[in-house]
């Protein structure tokens, strides 16, 4: 089956198989991505991140429903952690999204992190492109439950929505570096709980501290996802921000940065693979390691020499 062609013709099975090919790094994956690439760049990519149990999946479910009400098609990539011990994973985000399964305008795919540490999986960006090429208007990437430093979502999404909940810490947590810095929009979920007002004030104060540096002050919304409260307003804010990104050329700026990072990462990966493959096959790599280990040579000189040789 010509996966790319059938995907572009609307086959859901082809869409699913394309993501598998990329995720498992099948030989045909590069060819599929080459064919799909010209058809990408049209979707609005929203990242949803926040601590475990903040309600990201339930919120995603409700946001998708609101976008469907507005007539948009939606792709969802839901990421859960892979066990560092067995390599296995329980991907449970669909439990909150069961009502969306039979909606033909929605496609949900669960992915394990498979060793990636930034809150996404290595192949999330490609999975986004595949859904984009399949014509989804909006693509939502739901990260694993994150702590303070898993901020890869910023590089993958146009808009980052940070979900916070009352009761997780004091205001010092709010001024630490990390996920609070990456928000374009905040939502206080489970806002019917005690502490929502306090959290709201703390977030506002944190934003006040670097008010001068903010061209866009992240709005703080409130939601109670399981009761569908505040969802329409939140989606409206997501759309307002998209409008702002387009008007100010920030969207182009962000996407240019993304392309830059992607090309560099791809180069690194391919050069690394080329070097290990060629050098390992003729034993040169082992020799190098031995020399360094015995202190007959240092790694800095050897790597510089190797690079010179490669670039000739």
């Amino acid at each position: 089956m010509d996966i790319a062609k059938e995907l572009l013709a609307g086959s859901r099975l082809a869409l699913s198989r394309a993501i598998t090919a990329v995720e498992n790094e099948y030989d045909e994956a590069v060819d599929i991505m080459k064919k799909l690439y010209p058809h990408t760049g049209n979707a609005y990519v929203i990242g949803i991140t926040g601590p475990p149990g903040a309600g990201k999946s339930t919120l995603t479910d409700k946001i998708v429903k609101e976008y469907r009400r507005l007539g948009k098609t939606v792709g969802v990539i839901a990421i859960d952690p892979t066990s560092p011990f067995s390599g296995g994973a329980i991907l449970g985000d669909r439990i909150r999204m069961n009502e969306l399964t039979l909606d033909e305008g929605v496609f949900i795919r669960s992915m394990g992190t498979r060793g990636s540490l930034g809150g996404l999986s290595h192949k999330t960006a490609d999975a986004v492109k595949i859904m984009d090429a399949a014509g989804k208007d909006v693509i939502i990437v739901e990260t694993v439950g994150v702590g303070q430093s898993e901020v890869d979502i910023v590089k993958a999404a146009d808009t980052t929505l940070v979900v916070v909940v009352p009761g997780l810490g004091d205001d010092i947590q709010a001024i630490k570096a990390g996920i609070l810095e990456i928000a374009d929009i905040f939502t206080i979920n489970k806002a019917d709980r005690d502490g929502a007002d306090k959290l709201n004030v703390e977030l506002e104060m944190m934003l006040d501290l670097y008010q001068d540096k903010l061209e866009w002050r992240p709005p703080i919304k409130r939601t109670v996802a399981h009761r569908n409260e505040g969802i329409a307003e939140l989606v409206q804010t997501l759309e307002e921000y998209y409008g702002y990104l387009k008007e100010t050329d920030k969207l182009t700026e962000r996407r240019t940065e993304r392309v830059k990072a992607e090309v560099l990462a791809m180069l690194e990966e391919n050069i690394g693979r080329y070097v290990t493959r060629t050098m390992q096959s003729d034993g040169e790599f082992e020799q190098m390691v031995q020399q360094i280990q015995k202190r007959e040579a240092d790694p800095y000189t050897l790597v510089a020499d190797l690079l010179k040789r490669l670039l000739k």
């Binding site: 198989r17 296995g88 994973a89 329980i90 669909r94 039979l102 498979r114 290595h122």
Partner: protein, 129 residues
């Protein structure tokens, strides 16, 4: 990145007992599989569509209500109709021995009844995917 076996663990029908499904899900996780768990009370249509979207290698269904003769074959047919010819479909739960031949006839590759060591399920999947 090597290929990982992906398994959809699903609960068709109306019984609300998923302790067994969760134990199996956990065992499959520990065996290195990616397990997609979709929760209780799934219709055959939901299970088949989730299997397609997740591009799983295995669909494992658990049922305790006695509705397996009705529901299991429907899921098999829906999955095959979607063009997923090579998906391994297995079942488990409270299933009388007498019902098993008919389920296998309908396309259920194997049936695991109460008391089965989880290692047997892992082994069966590894040998048949």
């Amino acid at each position: 990145m090597e290929k990982r076996i992906r398994v959809l663990v699903a609960k068709p029908g109306l019984d609300g007992h998923d302790r067994g499904a969760k134990v199996v899900a956990r065992a499959l996780r520990d065996a290195g599989f990616e397990v997609i768990y979709t929760g209780l009370r799934q219709t055959p249509e939901q299970i088949a569509e989730a299997a397609l979207q997740e591009d799983v290698n295995v669909v494992a269904m658990s049922i305790l209500s006695g509705a397996h003769p009705q529901l299991f074959p429907v899921v098999v047919n829906l999955i095959r109709e979607k063009g997923m010819k090579d998906v391994l479909i297995i079942g488990g739960g409270v299933i009388p021995d007498g019902d098993i031949p008919a389920l296998k006839e309908a396309g259920i590759a194997e049936v695991f009844t109460p008391g089965t060591p989880t290692g047997d399920i892992v082994k069966f999947i590894n040998e048949n995917v």
